[in-house]
Amino acid sequence: MLRYTFKRLLSLIISLAIASLVIFAVIEVAPGDPASFMLGINAAEDTLAALRAELGLDQPKWQRYLAWVGGMLQGDFGTSYQYRTPVSEMIADRLWVSLPLALYALALSTLIAFPAGIYAASRRGKAGDVSVMGATQVGVAIPNFWFAMMLVLIFAINLRWFSAGGFAGWDKGFVAAMKSLTLPAIALALPQAAILARVMRSSLLDVLDEDFMRTARAKGLSRGAALRRHGLRNAMIPVLTILGLQLSFLLAGGIIIEQVFYLPGLGRLIFQSISARDLIVVESVTMLLVFAVITVNFLVDLAYAAVDPRLRARA
């Protein structure tokens, strides 16, 4: 297990190094000079040069890459061209919204999907299975922004249980903050739950046909006990894969939901920075998201090994 963890960790570091190079290169070749963007098209050439020097844009590319990576390692993400504030602060503020939102949505999605998937699998072909599968079909089909607007209409405008948008802030207390994240989390979670439930069901059904499930029944376990004790863990690998993908998506891909609910999250930050050619912010947020995705994958790999002893042995 230690050797496996070490190997996965090594591959994580290599992936990060490659990702940072690619991000830097792509942003470098993108058209648009931040300095001229900031000063407007009528700026004088010497003012531009002075600003470029100040921003460090006149240095050789490899030096800028090293300075960028070195800075990030020390928690210094540079200074936003647009707002002239440290990028690390901007990201930290936004992360305090996006990360709880993603985890909240993931928890909701798991809480809905696991019981639904297990229930459907245990009544394969019966009415319960058919109705759960029908519901997930609808869940997959509904666009999440439309669903978010419906939530706002019903729970914020008609019932007035939640506010229609905005983020209360953590200084207002945990309950208030979580309350303002609840509708967005539901909007994010439901389509994910629908997918996860389907994966859970089909993965369990595959396992139910395995010979060892018959052995479990021959021991005297009831159908349900056999499913819980021997079926679930064997069905987890595909479910973990999807869970990992969903967490990555929720971190970065909540941008539409953030717009609908006016949440100051990472998605909005990256969108605004791209429009303003605030390349240092774009670079840093992208790098952060890549880091998050790769870390999630690393955790999923560890979870695989925890679930399946054969993977531990193979590494």
Binding site: D211, G220, S222, R233, N234, D308, A313
Partner: protein
């Protein structure tokens, strides 16, 4: 007082009748075998006793197990009986255990369910010791054990609570002969020591000839004959039993071969597999699957290759087919290395599972004419060749328009042979080609091969784990162990006067029917 009484058991699954008035009794300490070919309903009879039938099954009649009316009990009551009063061992030890749970936990679970008075872990240890796994810690996972060891774990699970009845459904079919002999000994010993009733389900009469007190022969869901083992084997009454016995002992009338010059030459072949690296700066280790193997096959000669799983016979076969790179040595057919694509048309292979080797969406004509791609130009008389290939293997030319699923297992194997022979290869390789077939079908296919030898002077390499088949269908035999050929010689000579201890072990372990040569 009998332990198990099945009377007039009839069973249908989704309206299809599976069992018809099956009756059977078993006394404590008795070993009863239920035998028959695939589709005879023998496994369903076993599952009916356990009441582990598919959801759509409807059973009538009576199954009384130790005064419990199994058909009348509700699921909750059945759960308390399963694993406690009756244990079951299954065919596939590779998949019968939960891969993500330690064997100790899996054995202890049965104890925990039924015997709260016992310490589950201690009991698991005791039972595993009893089935011969003294050296295996409880913390092992199934993938760390061999097939025979896994089957012992499955047996340990079944006997952990000291059941009165043990049902074994083809317990040794997936195992090597020497392992099979050990598992059969173990089952017999457990039944004797505990006075446990043993219901053995098997397709192989030879397996139960030595251990069963009584045999019940089934066909198409009905019992055709039942009786004491010696009497039934010596003097079968029903024509089907007679046919089954004859097929199990089937001797092929193999024409004499006139051997000529060497056709296939295997010289000092070595195949190493690189093992996964364990350390970064130490070179990876290797596993030698084929170790300095040399032999010739002469034109017109029929050669057998026997050995247990993992001995390297599959690797050697792939190397001969030119599908596997070899580290040293040469394999030539008619003087040309087998890796040369031109040699491909001179060699064809017939695999164990014909269904898996056919594209289910192609028609027979296309399937069996596939080897024509190996020729420079397709033969002008393609349809005539397809028709004659089908006739040769005992099918009709009209079958060319059917799909593979429309054939039975034996007919599919005929198709596979037709496909192999359609371009008149110089060498045919039969890779466990009859291992998955029922005995009566197997006898027919072996006869077909002998017929084709008469017609076309076939040269073939027949790979099998079943010694009795190799004995009747080959002129010369090679015995392989751990990558090496340990013995070779004229088939009959090797079987009667084996010199290598391994060959002797193999021959001894192979179950035989009384009266078989």
């Amino acid at each position: 007082m009998s332990l198990l009484t099945i009377s007039d058991l009839s069973l249908s699954i989704a309206g299809t009748p599976i069992l018809l008035d099956v009756s059977l009794t078993l006394a404590p300490g008795e070993v009863v075998a239920v035998t028959g070919e695939s589709g005879s309903g023998k496994s369903m009879t076993a599952l009916a006793v356990m009441q582990l039938l598919p959801a759509s099954a409807v059973a009538t009649g009576q199954i009384i197990l130790d005064s419990n009316d199994m058909l009348a009990l509700d699921e909750r009551a059945l759960c308390t009986l399963r694993g406690d009063l009756v244990g079951m061992v299954f065919q596939e030890p590779m998949t019968a255990l939960n891969p993500v749970q330690t064997i100790g936990k899996q054995v202890a679970e049965t104890v925990r369910l039924h015997r709260p008075d016992l310490d589950p872990t201690q009991r698991a240890r005791d039972v595993l010791d009893r089935v011969g796994l003294q050296a295996i810690p409880l913390s092992r996972y199934p993938h760390e054990l061999s097939g025979g060891q896994r089957q012992r774990v499955v047996i340990a699970i079944a006997i952990a609570c000291g059941p009165k009845l043990l049902i074994a459904d083809e317990p040794t079919t997936a195992l090597d002969v020497t392992t099979q002999a050990q598992i059969l000994d173990l089952l017999k010993q457990l039944a004797t020591e505990d006075g446990m009733g043993l219901l053995m389900i098997t397709h192989d009469l030879a397996v139960v000839a030595e251990m069963a007190d009584r045999i019940t022969v089934m066909r198409h869901g009905a019992v055709v004959e039942a009786g004491d083992t010696p009497a039934l084997l010596a003097n079968p009454q029903h024509p089907y039993t007679q046919a089954l016995l004859a097929a199990s002992n089937h001797q092929v009338d193999l024409p004499r071969s006139d051997e000529q010059a060497p056709l296939l030459r295997v010289q000092n072949v070595v195949r190493d597999y690189t093992l996964p690296r364990t350390r970064v700066f130490v070179p990876a280790g290797t596993h030698r699957a084929v170790d300095d193997v040399s032999f010739d096959i002469k034109r017109g000669e029929r050669v057998g290759l026997v050995g247990e799983s993992g001995c390297g016979k599959s690797t050697l076969t792939r190397a001969i087919l030119g599908l596997e790179p070899v580290q040293s040595g040469t394999i030539t057919l008619d003087g040309t290395p087998v890796t040369d694509p031109a040699v491909r048309r001179k060699m064809q292979v017939v695999f164990q599972d014909p269904y898996g080797s056919f594209n289910p969406r192609h028609r027979v004509a296309r399937l069996i004419s596939e080897p024509f791609h190996l020729l420079d130009a397709p033969p002008p008389d393609r349809d005539a060749r397809i028709a004659s290939a089908l006739t040769d293997v005992g099918l009709s030319p009209e079958d060319a328009h059917k799909y593979p699923h429309q054939f039975s297992g034996g007919q599919r194997q005929r198709l596979a042979i037709a496909r192999a022979l359609i371009i008149r290869p110089e060498l045919v390789i039969f890779d466990e080609a009859v291992s998955a077939l029922d005995v009566s079908v197997r006898a027919q296919i072996l006869d077909l091969i002998a017929d084709l030898c008469r017609q076309y002077d076939l040269t073939y390499l027949f790979i099998s784990h079943d010694l009795s088949i190799v004995r009747t269908i080959t002129d010369r035999v090679l015995v392989m162990k751990q990558g090496q050929i340990v013995e070779e010689g004229a088939t009959e000579h090797v079987f009667t006067e084996a010199t290598h201890p391994y060959t002797q072990t193999l021959i001894q372990a192979a179950p035989t029917l009384p009266g078989a040569a």
